[in-house]
Symmetry: C2
Subunit: 622 residues, 2 copies
């Protein structure tokens, strides 16, 4: 047998435990035979400290990207991959065929290479592809008026059961400002999903060869999503580490995952990831194409790239970043930039264009790319190869020239019913962010926007998850559909598992802050439930309702570890005499002891006291 | 001798080393005999990799809050305190007298208590106070048309020597959007400082009994400032730890420091801090007053509070948070809130008001408070006792009712030439933040705004430095003058040294992002210098120019520790073949090798290539 130099994933080390206080729940469909996964956070009773009376609190249901990993009833074997959730739905559409072999030359070579046996995912099936003359994209189905099982799954998933909340006072929320978007009025219906997809305002990345993925949607009028990036580089990381990062990313809230590997065994690494990943996977195919020509950009060819697209599509990649907007005539516009071209794919294509004195082959062959995409339902993520990599370069001519071309390409893709989202910046100071959103909406006919941050200053390497969270929250509010995360390692090195988590939590914050500002239905419920728990000193509930219960609990326990502290009406910030919420409770108890037990009465009791005072005619400043 | 149960600060453990790459520099005044401290970051030469030619880069001068600690030529002895920088300026004004003893009864008791000898700062001087009939506030001087040494110091300090940059291309920056503020046109003059203070739009917190502080200004038309909070609680922390945190906070960029101690030996702890602190100190006097009545809010009296104000003013506290806007009739407006009153001071006053059925004594005695403040030049930080502590409570009637009263009180303080800033929220979703700024400007006649965040969502305890950095950056952009930091421990426990640093760096990011968005003169210089260093792979320069060189360097070295990596044209994120900036450099080198050596020529070279192509008539999509 061959050597095993590569560390492969084993099921023993993968994190399976449900998040603290959570259990997986499944909501059945009405139109289709589906079970939609989400999670329910248990909440303890409110206990009145005057009367001792207990009032139950409703469990809080939240969107869950962690997949079957956190369902203890599901048997997970990384060697076999996740359950193929969508396979039956795909086959029922009767528009695909099973291929007898992989179509890509490169893939065939890799499969035949015995030296790779030791690190290859073993249970590889031959791919499916659209029957001749068929188009299998969700956009195509949507425009036919069809509500697919994927669409119904998404509608139920996005709702988080808010349609069951009724008159729950915690369901009250501020009216938002979504800048005129088509924000859903109450809860989301499958028909609403279909319409948004049909209009191009939303995409459902769901390659027929990635049936393990739980359907999700990227669009301005849905919950703001986040993407995480993993992948090795030639300098570091193994297959085992990358699969770990993928599962870890999903656990904490990553909605999609990009495998940006540039090191060795890119093909085999990706197979392991896709087979075990419950969220859509994106890639940048030009990276692997570059690896095939040993890093020499000038040696790239359309043929190599085309084969790479097919190789990756047949593995199940759900969306491709394609830098088809880096046009030859735009490259001079970057000559005076402070940081030049910071996109890997953009710089590779720029180098190729100049070396050959030819137009970008991704642009010239764009319709052929569409033909490949629609045979598997791979979505475009039209790359922002000319995005600004420094504050100085923000919103310059190069950046916006490319954006206009991406708008042109969007129309072409839509001619083929291929799904499209548009990538965006970058490094942009706060006051220049909205212009990006406005231009993208105008040029790209409201196709979903997918930005990297933006970073709002350059001066904090080591903290760029924060410099960019500011910009990401704002551009999410303005209408961006998906935010690509940035980790503390940005500009400095490859992120490890902790960095992945820091990036995910930070970007969940940005996305949720945007949902609140847009007034997304039900978004504020979790904030209200957590704040109520906080006010009532239900510490475990506060932790369990938060984005990262483990860290919240650990931080609290650093100074107050005893179990008794979990019902204490203070923490170590202020101690028992100074806790403002405890004092507020005392004030309310006092009023309650005056014989009133409801909030209106409390209000009245305090108002009476105040009026007494004024009637006694005390002097105050005028 | 008495026991030493309390760990006291020693000069050996204090961090003295200058930040990596930095040295302290002093810029002399023109109007006054002053030397203004700041720091200069050295930058290595740009080396052309085609020709080898070296071009020097200008060192970057930045604002520095770390004080004499990072000047190796200054001898520091924590037992003696910092040099009394401003003492001569204060005495030269000839409007103060030295008191023979402390005026506060409580202070006299503490000084006479032998059991405290072991933990008391030894070199205590009797305080200064305004001569009878004199008003010693910077506002008073400004309105007299006087440019004090403090004002000139500030003008030079705020400029960061941008007036010496000339035609430096890195001095180019985007035009900002300051929402109609009186943003300085070029660099700042002492007269501009005087005008801003005279108008009430800015304050210079500078108690005559804190001569160790380096003068600074808080105002919309100056650099956005940040405040940090330290202080013990009854649960944890020692004097040594608190002085450590104070020096640490200043090292990393805290512009002012609030000592919010609520535990033991508040008086003595504060003395150690003030004597050793180069930045203004704020307190919330009601905390210590509450400690004096053993935590029973009902037992507070005006007399105790008055004595506490004098006690703290004579130690040298530069600003007091005073919750004079928590009026009796506003308290019922909080009855239905999700999180009630979250301000310690606000809840204490609310409890007192209801217990006594009387108006808030801070409000009724406000003019007497002014009389005390103007004798020492203590500034008001008018407290937002009714700020919202949850998204649900944002922008409610209680919050804005108090804000209106703070506006009323501002006018009264200004009658006495007492400096005022206004505290603000809190927890506010993004779309509701601007309304806070607009209302505050209107009600408070543009007095400086000083907000706590705001946090833009409730769902991330453990990460509230981030949830609030988003809101803080935005409200700083809209015009807030100072941002009170939030650490990862918010809502969970007392922050330790690492939390203080995380909070400081996070809030420096928010403040600087706001400066960029406002188009503050010179703000973008550092971003440009760092990005240039990044693009040229001058790794040490990139680290040294960043807010936290230690962390940036450590993160890089996690995966590429060898010294050779510091000149490598890649990092472990992408490796040598995939680094976009390296590829961009290759592209530019190629053009340079075509015989052109300047940026315009490069632009032309690339444009020529592009034109060639078009002229060759290749077809492209229309």
């Amino acid at each position: 047998m061959s050597q095993r130099p590569e560390k492969l994933p084993t099921s023993e080390t993968i994190t399976r435990q449900p998040l603290s206080g959570s259990r997986k729940v499944y909501v059945p469909g009405q139109l289709h035979d589906i079970q939609v996964a989400m999670r329910e956070i248990s909440v303890t009773d409110t206990v009145s400290h005057t009367s001792g009376r207990r009032t139950p609190n409703t469990p809080v249901t939240v969107y869950d990207t962690s997949g079957p990993y956190t369902d203890p009833s599901v048997v997970i074997d990384l060697q076999k991959g996740l359950p193929r959730l969508r396979e039956a739905w795909i086959r029922d559409r009767q528009d695909v065929e099973d291929l007898s072999d992989f179509s890509s030359t490169y893939c065939q070579q890799r499969m035949a290479d015995r030296s790779l046996d030791a690190l290859r995912f073993e249970h590889i099936r031959t791919p499916m592809r659209a029957k001749v003359g068929q188009n299998v994209t969700q956009l195509h189905y949507a425009r036919q008026g069809i509500i697919t099982p994927e669409m119904e799954y998404i509608a139920i998933r996005e709702n988080q059961r808010i349609n069951e909340l009724g008159n729950d006072p915690l369901a009250v929320q501020h009216t938002g400002n979504s800048f005129g978007a088509n924000t859903p009025a109450g809860y989301i219906t499958p028909e609403f999903v279909r319409q948004e997809v049909a209009s191009g305002r939303a995409i459902i990345p769901a390659n027929i060869n990635h049936p393990e993925s739980e359907p999700m949607i990227i669009g301005r009028n849905f919950l703001v999503k986040i993407n995480t990036n993993i992948g090795n580089s030639v300098v570091t990381s193994s297959i085992e580490e990358e699969v770990e990062k993928a599962v870890w990313s999903c656990r904490w809230g990553g909605d999609t995952l990009m495998d940006l590997s540039t090191g060795k065994n890119i093909h085999e690494t990706r197979e392991w990831i896709i087979r075990n990943c419950p969220v859509p996977i994106g890639t940048v195919p030009i990276y692997q194409a570059l690896e095939k020509v040993n890093g020499k950009a000038e040696n790239l060819t359309w043929a190599i790239f085309r084969d790479t697209l097919i190789e990756q599509a047949e593995q199940g990649v759900d969306y491709f970043t394609i830098h088809a907007g880096v046009l030859l005539r735009y490259i001079p516009l970057t000559a005076k930039r402070v940081t030049g071209i910071v996109s890997r794919g953009g710089s590779i294509m720029a180098k190729w264009c100049l070396a050959h004195h030819q137009e970008n082959f991704l642009y010239t062959h764009f319709e052929e790319i569409c033909d490949i995409m629609k045979a598997y339902d791979v979505a475009f993520s039209l790359g922002d190869g000319l995005r600004p990599g420094s504050i100085a370069d923000a919103n310059d001519a190069a950046q916006f020239a490319e954006l206009e071309t991406l708008g042109e390409l969007t129309k072409i893709a839509w001619k083929h019913d291929v799904q499209v989202m548009i990538e965006g910046p970058g490094h942009v100071p706060m006051h220049m962010i909205k212009a990006n959103m406005d231009k993208q909406l105008a040029h790209c006919d409201e196709a979903p926007f997918y930005t990297l941050g933006p970073l709002t200053t350059d001066i904090a390497p080591g903290y760029d998850h924060i410099t960019s969270a500011i910009g990401a929250a704002m551009i999410g509010w303005y209408g961006t559909a998906m935010l690509c995360y940035v980790t503390p390692k940005e500009h400095l090195g490859l992120p490890n598992k902790q960095d992945v988590k820091d990036g995910v939590i930070t970007y969940k914050i940005a996305a949720h802050a945007a949902d609140l500002a847009k007034g997304h239905p039900g978004a504020q419920y979790r904030d209200n439930a957590l704040s109520k728990a906080r006010f009532e000193f239900r510490w475990d509930d506060q932790f369990n309702l938060s984005l990262d219960p483990d860290t919240a609990r650990a931080f609290h326990d650093e100074t107050l570890p005893a179990e008794g502290a979990k019902i204490a009406h203070f923490c170590s910030m202020c101690g028992p005499n100074f806790c403002s919420m405890k004092i507020t409770q005392d004030v309310r108890d006092y009023a309650e002891q005056q014989g009133l037990t409801d909030a209106d009465g409390l209000d009245k009791a305090m108002a009476d006291k105040a009026r007494e005072f004024v009637e006694q005619g005390s002097e105050i400043y005028q």
